[in-house]
């Protein structure tokens, strides 16, 4: 086998096997360097994979040399490549920027464990994405979940602990629901491989278990993905996590669960079960719409910067689900694009928050007065990413809004009212982003009155700006993610092989 053929396995193996090595790297800084190297390596692998699947080919890898359905197969197609890009990209970028911020929030002797957990999280998420085996997805889902519990529990504040405990409980329930669903499908089809399931599920006569399985899997993954109203774990967890962890997780963790949801549903169920498309729409569409509206409204009145952004994530997850709920090629394209673009925007925003945290211990909006004077570059980056979140043309966020609206209009009768929902929530986004902008730029500095110029450390600032510029770049030249998103849609609903 050539090196290129090994890439799908290496995507998981590289960060995973680096983790134990990191634990051994006790001297300060070395653990970070090792983890960053591993993160960058896996990002490079993801890029190589994306290039390899651009022409519509699927990279298949038989683990242990055992072909599916007997062994576990890894498959990388356009959709997985897109999600891999954002997972590894977010992981690597956040690691690259993490050092100074983590030094302030995690004691040096705990850092090797922290970075090891980070790499495990990265490996787990990547493992979910590349896997083509339902049970294997569960295993890697657990790796990534455990890792994210650890990372969030590293939060400096004691409130991180109850938050992460809630996440742990809800996450475990979600994973177990998924496991029950997979068990029921396995019971009726005798296989765990997704493609094999797709092929065999049509032959199942007794549909009760399959329907219940679909319900369990959808709800379990929706829990993991923080789909409204199952999102209650998310705002606190993201708020109290260490800043860099928020960057990493907010950019990709929930999206991977959504990825599995979309892939599982459209591959296994929608293809063969009559009426399932309708049922899926019936389930997902109202939740998506409610999530968008409710979470956006909550965000408008939220006073804490991080929690505001975290709440907005719930709304953005609604967008992704909304696209998927159309069960059309345009819808999936919009969904996939929004995954990518939201990761860019939210990642950038949280990076800027991490910068701000260097001089503002309290991240409530009311305490951020004078920030623009002290940290002009950080604030400018934050504004750029905020505009992308709103969906201003010229930024990445606009592309996905455009696709989403087009998909909504194509979806028929309710199209215009859905467009209205999208637009109204965009305006709500204007409101909550502008509350941040006004706090940063126009609010009087608090009593301490230190208004000297004091930017965040260069390393962090550079990464923040790189992400901010990517938001603009992908708003003008979105060809790569768009090609992958179109490929995914063709794969999932277009009936292409």
């Amino acid at each position: 086998m050539t090196f290129m053929e090994h890439l799908p396995a290496l995507q998981v193996v590289v960060p995973m096997l680096s983790a134990p090595l990191i634990v051994l790297l006790q001297p300060r800084g070395l653990a970070w360097a090792g983890a960053t190297a591993a993160g960058l390596a896996s990002f490079a692998i993801a890029i190589a994979l994306a290039m390899a699947v651009l022409d519509g080919q699927t990279q298949v890898y038989a683990m242990g040399g055992w072909a599916a359905p007997y062994g576990i197969a890894l498959e990388v197609d356009a959709f997985s490549a897109l999600v891999l890009l954002l997972v590894t990209g977010a992981g690597a970028a956040a690691l690259l920027a993490a050092r100074v911020s983590v030094d302030r929030q995690i004691e040096p002797e705990r850092q090797p464990l922290f970075y090891a957990a980070w790499l495990l999280g990265l490996a787990g998420l990547a493992g979910i994405v590349v896997s083509a085996d339902a049970f294997n997805i569960f295993v890697f889902m657990e790796i990534s979940s455990l890792a994210s519990y650890i990372l969030i529990a590293g939060g400096p504040d004691r409130r991180a602990l109850p938050a992460v405990f809630k996440y742990l409980i809800m996450g475990t329930i979600g994973a177990t629901f998924y496991l029950i669903g997979v068990g029921l499908i396995y019971m009726m089809t005798g296989t765990l491989n997704l493609a094999d399931m797709q092929a065999r599920i049509g032959d199942v006569v007794a549909l009760n278990p399959i329907l219940v399985a679909a319900g369990f899997i959808t709800i379990g993954l929706a829990l993991k993905a923080a789909v409204f109203p199952l999102h209650v774990w998310l705002p606190n967890a993201y708020t109290h996590a260490p800043h860099m962890v928020t960057v990493f997780l907010a950019a990709c963790a929930t999206k991977v669960a959504l990825y599995v949801l979309i892939r599982f549903d459209s591959m296994v169920f929608q293809d063969r079960l009559s009426d399932h498309e309708f049922q899926f729409t019936l389930f997902a569409l109202p939740l998506a719409v409610l999530g968008i509206l409710v979470a956006s409204s909550v965000a408008m009145f939220e006073g804490h910067l991080k929690r505001l952004l975290a709440t907005s994530s719930v709304a953005q997850i609604g967008y992704i689900l909304l696209g998927a709920s159309f069960v059309s090629e345009a819808g999936i394209t919009a969904s996939a694009m929004h995954m990518f673009n939201h990761a860019l925007a939210k990642g950038g925003l949280f990076l800027a928050v991490a910068c701000l945290a260097f001089h503002f211990r309290d991240l409530r909006l009311s305490e951020l007065g004078g920030a623009a004077r002290r940290m002009p570059l950080t604030c400018a980056a934050l504004v750029v990413c905020g505009l992308s979140l709103i969906g201003v043309p010229g930024t990445a966020g606009f592309i996905s809004k455009w696709l989403l609206i087009t998909a909504a209009l194509e979806s028929g009768l309710w199209g215009w009212s859905l467009v209205a929902v999208i637009l109204v929530s965009s305006l709500m986004a204007v409101v909550y982003i502008w509350r941040i902008v006004e706090a940063l730029y126009f609010q009087q500095a608090s009593a301490e009155g230190d208004t000297s110029f004091a930017e965040a450390p260069l390393q962090l600032l550079l990464v923040t700006w790189a992400v901010a510029l990517l938001n603009i770049f992908f708003g003008l030249f979105p060809h790569l993610p768009l090609a992958l998103a179109n490929g995914s849609a063709a794969l999932l609903v277009g009936g292409a092989p």
């Binding site: 201003v392 087009t406 003008l476 030249f477 979105p478």
Partner: protein, 489 residues
Amino acid sequence: MIPETAILTAICLPLAGALAIAVAGRISPNLREATTLLTAAALIWVVWGLLPTLMAGGRPAVEVSEVMPGLTIAFRVEPLGMLFAALASGLWLINSVYSIGYMRGNKEKNQTRFYVCFALALAATMGVAFAGNLFTLFLFYEVLTLSTYPLVSHKGDEATVRSARVYLGVLLCTSIGLFLPAIIWTYMAAGTGDFVHGGILAGKLEGPAIGLLLGLFVFGIGKAAVMPVHRWLPAAMVAPTPVSALLHAVAVVKAGVFAITKIIVYVFGIDFLFATPSSGWLLYMAAFTIITASLVALRQTNIKRLLAYSTIAQLSYVVMAAATLKPLAEVGAAIHMVAHAFGKITLFFAAGAIYVASKKTEIHQLRGIGRRMPWTMTAFTIGALSMIGVPPTAGFVSKWYILAGAFEAENLVAVFTIIASTVLNAAYFLPILYMAWFEREEAGAKAHGEAPFAAVLALCITALLTLAFFLFNGPVIELESQVVRALPL
């Protein structure tokens, strides 16, 4: 310079200028302002260099990126855009001269941010002017909104921030809530958003849908300030006067009416729209705005707010002219953009000069000010006369064309509106002139002279331009006639 390169240069130059200004601002104010002037001058050279090509009938175009299939960032220069770009770039230079006087005279804070954002706004204006399709237009339209926000909120105190919130809120709400769906609708119906002579929607839509789409466009383009989406314009008056002068008399508001005109001419096509009964409401809406805004202006006591409402009325002239859907009126719409720009920028310059010299902002304070500031008030008088439409000023020329178009269309509402508004214009401007020149100053008033030289110089130039346009408008009319030449005149 090759026209294609010139287009891109015209957009990138102010961007590069903004960067240079930011850097220069860290070194010295003189260098910063020199950079601004240099950039403005260079921009004029680039933009005006395109004129001969246009006069000769050339339509240079360039495509930058195909963002999504069918959705491109592309530029195409045509007479309307050329006129707008030439106007904005030319006035930027004069405005920069004025700004230097004003900002220094007032000892404003954050001057670097001011000049940087100004340059960014100009880049966006160039983008709007040269946009070759709806998407590109929308892109730069939004950039223009966002880059002017820091200018409006420049002062930074609570009242200003609240007004700036209205400014941004109205403009973004309308553009995201109405303009964007209209664009997407157009793309879905026509399969393209390119500006094409004769429109792209003929045969693609029918019945009331056309009127609805037109409504989405007109109210979505909040910058045109057609009532009831005009609220942002008075709110924007909290900005420093150079901003009000160039942006809220020229660049931003003209971007709005320009976009509407362009959409009517190149997306709907005037013939198609004329044949559609459901689009008639636009003219009445514009007429209503003209009259109402003029009436509101009558009651204003603050100079800048009066000018703002006057602007709202004058903008609707352009919209009404465009909505008359007759070739002469379309030419009139284009010319009125120019005429109003010269006149209104003069008025704002004058108002700013008065503020710098005497800190006066209210109309009743202007008694006898003509004797203290003769240059400024002469310019103000010329500007006011142009607003009313008295010869020999620019305002007369454009009103003439619009009126001619209205007669051609046999639209009595339009004719009546023009006459009535002329009377109203006179009713709110003439008392000010009378007060300034013929009444006595209140006793015990503080003595003051003219504003700084740079400011006075700028407003004299624009006043002269207002007069000059009455005499030398041939090339402009010839250029704009190209917009409708394919149609029977």
